[in-house]
């Protein structure tokens, strides 16, 4: 069937900010959809609040709305743009839920908007647990026994004979928020009540436990003519009971016989038909009882999901792109397979390699959080590895995580454990479980025993045991003597080859051989043990393929060929984590686009399957590889690039920069010397003193004693941090010597061997972020952002406003001047980010980072200039003069953008939500409007903390804030809110003639503030706390507000901005304006 001609314009709903369970994969899918549908000639209207996406680049759609993704705002956009259709299945759960609400409220019908891909009833049938279960039983498929409850009473009555454990899943939530496994009555009551609260429909499903069963997923595609193909099968190493996003998974499935697999395949197709997803991708999950083979259907996602992104990268089959084409009427047999060109997309990929996906966690950031994995997702990112065998892929996957492991390693924590404890760490699912499995294998546990403890299929354990056996043999025989005169004997060479084929890294092997990694590498190369590169081609090489998408393997035949074009290699950022996410992938993609335009061959290296950068048509060549020195150098050896870019992928490639340069790799852009200079406290201090810039008093310490004496000299409070880390890892404000000692212990763990940096903490200063572009001669100050929270909160977590709204022009001019001076002194070629603190008219330089910053996409989207692209051009040799950019990037811009961070606290119950110098946020949103208040309100709304326009505001502030809160409280009262406070704050307010309800503190009995929050009586919490010690009362108040979705403001500056925002909300609806329209208003 050809393209539909009854529609001309299509609304695509994006997924909003990066949160746990909804990450870059929806930028990948949305970008593909935009690209494809525009090529088909449709007018594309896009809404997404996340500026760090490729999809919100102005050229991706005809109209791009960087607005909150919620029903009210999207309704406004529909009313304004009148699209003929909406495509709801590519924007994750957020996009789907928004479209569902728009249907329910009649907006779609009113404006005659058709739903493409899946319509309302279909989505309802798939998402509603009861109707899904009924549908499955109707077509004769097995499901776990389950009941649906809408209240605690109902839940208890209906599960009386089910026993424990049971699984509780709330309906209509993201990534299973609020679900859990209840092992006894107490847990049952707690999880059910949380689930009911989190569900959009106050509904939970409680089901029979199939914990420990094998878990599988199928990725399916269906077209208008009812052709269905299975793109990929995925087997979870972690058994049922752990969210698939938190599971280590493998593609294709490994342990089902063909009969069992085909039964699952047929069932998957029947599910898709019965639910009725008309066109596009879906994902169906199954569980299989390992003892009997009984197969049950778990759930279905009637949309493109995280697993679809993984399946696309694992197979080379571009699910989102094809889904978009199917949505507008094409059938699978009409769409060519990009990779083979001659065969159609109507087929099932055949893999001739093994893919392992490993989730990336950041529990180190949330010390108090429980790291037990369950059915609510906790990981913040993932990495994928491809190898010819599982062993190879697993080891590559583990070293791609960048958690300090260079493969399947053991864990120090296990060394002092007795058997009981060790077994605990194997049976309790946790993010380091595999390392404990390794310890168990080392101490002689059998495959069977480990499998019994963990529920992990014996096949996987046996593979891991194979790795341990190789390692044993190597440790026995790889004594340094074998490498005399760098000329190992044949037996040693054979052993190295065997180990490399099993995925061992040079780092692991050199350790065993007692050599330095670089030395070992030389020997290995000399012995001819080098990787080959194989193609991901969807067809196991049955057909010729044209897309250069490679992975390494220690096999015989090499398939990559070096061209004689000028080539630039871009190193990506690896798995998403807090502090390093989609912003950096955005920059890497832009570099690839710009350099391709300039005629270079672009080579991307990355290991993150969620991203646009790992799409096979983003760059000329894609190497899906770990970002380690070894893996990168192997590609460099093969490709011999003319330039390598390390400044766009975040800290990951920067950490490799020195070693790469020493190995002779041509790194382009700002020199490594300049980058090191900016990191080196002493040299940097000399440099800026030399050019007359001011820093807060600071020093560097290598030992605890040094730190104590130097901090004493500077004067508390001080900001302390380890060097060479990103996202403010372990950074703290310390107020006394005791906390400093505590910090020093942690720093030694986080960044061993590097000194600790100590800075005077400037209380109540305004922090400013500046992004600039320089070529060594000219400097463009692209954006100056004023932080809303005061200095001391990590810039990644702080809201900021562009252009600044309280800093006087004179100060701004001086900031510009200092930035230019700094960029020239550091000889920046490319991007630089500088952070200043402004206290009155004093400007202090906090730090300079000669690399792409997290704010590059935000600034680019605001000023309408793609900074990362321009920077890539400069790095490749263009001058700023040649780029033809306006000297003044603010050139008559009459609107304001606010960036707000999105925090994952609701996932980690018990963690205090207080912001500090260590970054905690997973993503960001942008609000843009003609006025600051409205932009701020939009940013809050987009971030999921919609400011209230009525109800009760609870205020409790620390003493030093009490004077400042009075004016804010009055404002709030004047806008019609009721004001409540704890006794101390209430006293101040009463003294200033305000009526205040006094709420009890927690130790003052009931009903207290927590009861009020739980009862839903509080609309907004303003709660500041002194930074000295986490104040338990405040922590409880804040975290219980956050878990209930009540906006919680923790700084005076934030409260002030919120008042502006609420004012704007109350003055009426703000209009929705696309960025193309905003850019049209720029005068110069």
């Amino acid at each position: 069937m050809p393209r539909r001609n009854d529609i001309e314009s299509i609304l695509i709903i994006g997924a909003g900010p990066i949160v746990i369970s909804q990450a870059c994969e929806f930028d990948y899918s949305g970008s593909q959809a935009c690209k494809v549908l525009r090529q088909e000639g449709y007018r594309i209207i896009l809404v997404n609040s996340n500026p760090a996406t490729i999809m919100t680049d102005p050229e991706m759609a005809d109209r791009t709305y960087i607005e909150p993704v919620n029903p009210a705002t999207v309704a406004q956009i529909i009313e304004k743009e009148r699209p003929d259709a909406v495509l709801p299945t590519l924007g994750g759960q957020t996009g789907l839920n928004t479209a569902m609400k728009l249907y329910e409220t009649g907006v779609l019908e009113k404006f005659g908007v058709k739903m493409l891909g899946a319509d309302y009833d279909v989505i309802k049938k798939a998402e509603d647990r009861q109707s899904f279960k009924e549908a499955m039983l109707k077509i004769g498929l097995d499901v776990p026994r389950s009941i649906i409850a809408h209240s605690m009473d109902e839940a208890e009555t209906l599960t009386r004979d089910m026993g424990y454990p049971v699984i509780v899943r709330p309906s209509f939530t993201l990534g299973g928020t609020g679900g859990g496994i209840a092992r006894d009555e107490n847990e049952f009551r707690e999880i059910v009540s949380r689930g009911l609260q989190n569900s959009m429909t106050t509904e939970v499903l409680i089901e029979e436990s199939i914990l420990g069963w094998k878990e599988y997923e199928l990725e399916l595609m269906r077209d208008e003519k009812d052709n269905v193909v299975i793109v990929c099968s995925i087997e979870n190493i972690d058994p049922m009971g752990i969210h698939t996003g938190d599971s280590i998974t493998v593609a294709p499935q490994q342990t089902l016989s063909d009969k069992e697999y085909q039964r699952m395949r047929t069932a998957g197709i029947e599910v898709m038909r019965e639910i009725g997803v008309r066109t596009g991708g879906s994902n169906v999950q199954f569980a299989v009882d390992p003892a009997t083979g009984r197969m049950v259907v778990i759930e279905m996602n009637p949309r493109v999901s995280r697993s679809s992104a993984l399946a696309s990268k694992a197979t080379g089959f571009p699910i989102a792109k094809i889904a978009a084409k199917l949505a507008v009427g094409y059938t699978l047999d009409e769409i060519p397979n990009d990779i083979t060109r001659t065969t159609p997309a109507c087929f099932e990929p055949a893999l001739d390699y093994c893919v392992v996906k490993v989730p990336r966690f950041t529990f180190e950031k949330f010390k108090l959080a429980d790291d037990t994995l369950g059915i609510s997702m906790k990981s913040v990112g993932e990495t994928m590895a491809i190898g010819r065998t599982f062993k190879e892929a697993l080891q590559k996957g583990l070293r791609s995580l960048e958690t300090g492991k260079s493969g399947f390693e053991g864990i120090r924590a296990a060394k002092d454990m007795d058997a009981g404890e060790l077994e605990q760490f194997i049976s309790r699912p946790n993010h380091e479980r595999l390392y404990f499995v390794k310890e168990a294998l080392l101490s002689g546990y059998t495959t069977e025993k480990i499998s019994d403890l963990s529920g992990i299929d014996p096949w996987f354990i046996e593979e891991m045991k194979g790795l341990v056996e190789i390692e044993r043999k190597l440790s026995r025989e790889l004594e340094p003597g074998r490498f005399k005169y760098l000329d190992p004997d044949q037996h040693a060479v054979d052993m190295i080859r065997e180990a490399k084929r099993a995925g061992f890294s040079d780092k692991q092997l050199s350790g065993m051989a007692g050599l330095a990694e670089e030395e070992f590498r030389k020997i290995r190369k000399k012995a001819g043990v080098v990787p080959v590169y194989k193609l991901v081609d969807t067809c196991a090489s049955e057909f010729e393929s044209y897309t250069p998408y490679f992975y390494s393997s220690y096999d015989d035949e090499n398939e990559t060929q070096r061209s004689d074009k000028k080539k630039i290699m871009i190193l990506g950022g690896g798995p998403n984590r807090i502090g390093q996410g989609i912003e950096f992938d955005y920059c890497c993609c832009h570099a690839a686009f710009a350099l391709k335009d300039m005629g270079f061959e672009t080579i991307m290296v990355n290991s993150n399957p969620e991203t646009v950068s790992t799409d096979y048509d983003t760059s000329d060549k894609l190497y899906f590889e770990p970002l380690t020195f070894e893996d990168v150098m192997n590609i460099v050896d093969s490709e011999k690039p003319d330039g390598v870019i390390v400044q766009f992928g975040g800290q990951t490639p920067l950490n490799l920069a020195n070693r790469l340069q020493e190995a002779g790799v041509p790194i382009i852009g700002t020199s490594i010397e300049s980058i090191s200079l900016a990191e080196d406290r002493e040299k940097f201090k000399d440099l800026i003193t030399g050019i007359g810039l001011k820093q807060p008093a600071n020093d560097t310490a290598f030992s605890v004693e040094q730190a104590l004496s130097k901090a004493g000299a500077i004067g508390y409070p001080v900001v302390v941090r380890p060097s060479y880390v990103l996202g403010g890892r372990a950074m703290k404000i310390v107020y006394d010597p005791d906390s400093l000692e505590e910090f020093m212990a942690e720093a030694a763990e986080v960044s061993p061997g590097h000194p600790v940096l100590i800075d005077k903490f400037l209380q109540n200063a305004i922090e400013v972020d500046v992004d600039a572009l320089a070529d060594g001669k000219d400097v463009i100050v692209a954006g100056i952002m004023e932080h809303i929270e005061e200095a001391g909160i990590h810039s990644g977590d702080s809201a900021c406003v562009l252009p600044p709204h309280t800093i006087p022009d004179g100060v701004l001019e001086e900031i510009k001047r200092q930035t230019v001076q700094l960029a020239l002194s550091l000889e920046i070629r490319g991007l630089m980010n500088v952070q200043f603190a402004v206290k009155g008219s004093d400007i202090y330089l906090l730090e300079a980072n000669p690399r792409a910053s997290r704010t590059i996409p935000f600034v680019s989207k605001t000023i309408g200039i793609p900074l990362a692209k321009e920077a890539a051009r400069v790095m490749a040799g263009a001058s700023i003069e040649q780029l033809g950019l306006p000297q003044d990037t603010s050139r008559g811009i009459k609107y304001t953008s606010v960036k707000e961070s999105v925090l994952p606290f609701s996932r980690f119950s018990g963690v205090d939500i207080l912001l500090g110098p260590e970054m905690m946020s997973t993503g960001e949103v942008m609000g843009i409007s003609r006025k600051f208040g409205a932009a701020f309100a939009k940013a809050q709304d987009g971030g999921g903390n919609k400011l209230p326009s009525g109800g009760m505001v609870f205020i409790s502030v620390q003493d030093s804030d009490k004077r400042n809160i009075v004016f804010i409280a009055k404002k709030i009262r004047d806008m019609g809110f009721r004001v409540s406070a704890t006794a101390g704050t209430a006293k101040i307010l009463k003294n200033n003639d305000m009526e205040v309800e006094v709420l009890k503190k927690l130790d003052e009995g009931s009903p207290n503030i927590l009861d009020a929050i739980k009862a839903g009586e509080v609309a907004l919490v303003i709660n500041t706390a002194s930074g000295k010690k986490p104040h338990t009362d405040g922590a409880l108040i804040r975290s219980s507000a956050v878990t209930r979705g009540i906006p919680c403001i923790t700084t005076i500056a934030g409260a002030q901005a919120s008042v502006n925002g609420i004012e704007s909300l109350m003055s009426g609806k703000d209009e929705v304006i696309s960025i193309q329209e905003y850019y049209g208003t720029i005068s110069a």
Binding site: K225, D226, S257, D258, Q262, P344, C346, E348, A350, D352
Partner: protein, 362 residues
């Protein structure tokens, strides 16, 4: 034990022997199969007689060998090439490892081979003869590989067909006679499960003997090698066409083609796998099919006006199905019985049952 695969053009691939290593060598036509699961069915599929099969999926043996999934009583292929043999299978039905099975069956396998390189070589150069050889054996060269008999023009069916007539399923109102050119058990199971009485006859059974069995329909089965090697089966089918409902699968389909006067030809490297898209030309719908054939009916030589091409392969446009209401037959090049592979075309057995029941006209 170190070993090599030597192809007739002299290309060598290195690996390690497994299975019945006492054999030292094994020879055949080397083909590749892209199925990611289903090795047990492939090993026991009589259609692989005379061939050495390379599995493109690297991990083979993961779920062991069970008692239920065989396609015949024994391993039929000549040798097996894999990238990574599994030594400890995991599946609730597994009864033994692949290595143990090969030892029991006297079959030679080789593991550790860069199977992707080998597959690419065959894709580029076409399927060719080859030898798996232990490094203990006397040196073998590409010339030795060239010397082994190939499949073209040979009767390979006689090596795998049943020696005598036997009943597969005795109960059933309707009776199907299966001409066994190397029939897969999945086909027999697919008939039996539909309540059909099934009698299997050797490939050289003549028309008279078949008619004596009073069948309501005849199925011409799959089998190994070149259809031109079995003129006797072609003649039998020619006599049957038009007199009784006939269903042809794979080699059976090719034999029907020859019986219709068409020609067959050898594909460069054949179709062996479980992901081949086949379009039903009449409905426009696509099925993902299981395939295993090196030869193919030449569309241009089909002159019988009553015969309609019903299916075609979306990858290369080759003929995948024919039908003639007048001649009361339909046939497909792919495997509706799966084993291994998807069940998308399972309904063709319903169609056959309905046809012979007179519920639908062929």
């Amino acid at each position: 034990m170190k070993a090599r695969v030597i192809l007739e053009d002299g290309r060598v691939f290195k690996g390690i022997l497994f299975g019945d290593v006492s054999k030292k060598t094994s020879a055949g036509e080397v083909v590749f199969n892209t199925s990611m699961s289903g090795y047990q069915e492939i090993l026991t599929d009589p259609s692989y007689k005379g061939q050495i099969v390379t599995m493109t999926y690297p991990h083979i043996g993961n779920y062991g060998i069970n008692h239920e999934d065989n396609e015949s009583g024994k391993v039929c292929l000549e040798g097996f090439i894999v990238r990574e043999l599994c030594s400890l299978p995991s599946n609730y039905r597994a009864k033994m490892t692949l290595d143990e099975y090969f030892k029991e069956q006297g079959i030679l396998g080789i593991t550790g081979v860069d199977t992707r390189a080998l597959t690419r070589h065959i894709r580029l150069s076409g399927s060719m003869k080859g030898i798996i050889v232990s490094h203990e054996a006397e040196v073998v060269s590409g010339d030795d590989a060239r010397g082994i008999p190939g499949l073209t023009g040979k009767d390979t069916v006689k090596l795998v067909t049943s020696r005598k007539i036997y009943n597969w399923n005795e109960k059933g109102d309707l009776h199907v006679v299966v001409i066994d050119c190397g029939v897969k058990h999945s086909i027999l199971r697919a008939l039996a499960v539909r309540g059909l009485k099934v009698t299997v006859v050797p490939a050289d059974t003549n028309v008279g003997e078949i008619r004596n069995l009073k069948p309501d329909g005849v199925l011409v089965s799959n089998g190994p090698g070149d259809p031109e090697g079995v003129p006797y089966a072609r003649d039998t089918v020619r006599d049957l066409l038009g007199t009784i409902p006939v269903f042809g699968i794979c080699l059976g389909h090719q034999i029907i083609g020859l019986a219709l006067g068409a020609e067959t030809y050898k594909l460069k490297f054949g179709h062996h796998g479980g992901n081949h898209p086949v379009k039903d030309i009449r409905t426009g719908k696509v099925m993902i099919t299981s395939q295993n054939h090196c030869f193919c009916v030449n569309h241009d030589t089909l002159s019988d006006a009553s015969v309609e091409i019903t299916h075609k392969n979306l990858n290369d446009g080759t003929v995948e199905g024919m039908e003639s209401p007048e001649l009361r037959f339909f046939s497909v090049q792919f495997h509706p019985e799966a084993g291994p592979g998807p069940f998308d075309a399972d309904h063709l057995f319903d169609k056959f049952r309905d046809t012979i029941a007179g519920n639908a006209k062929p």
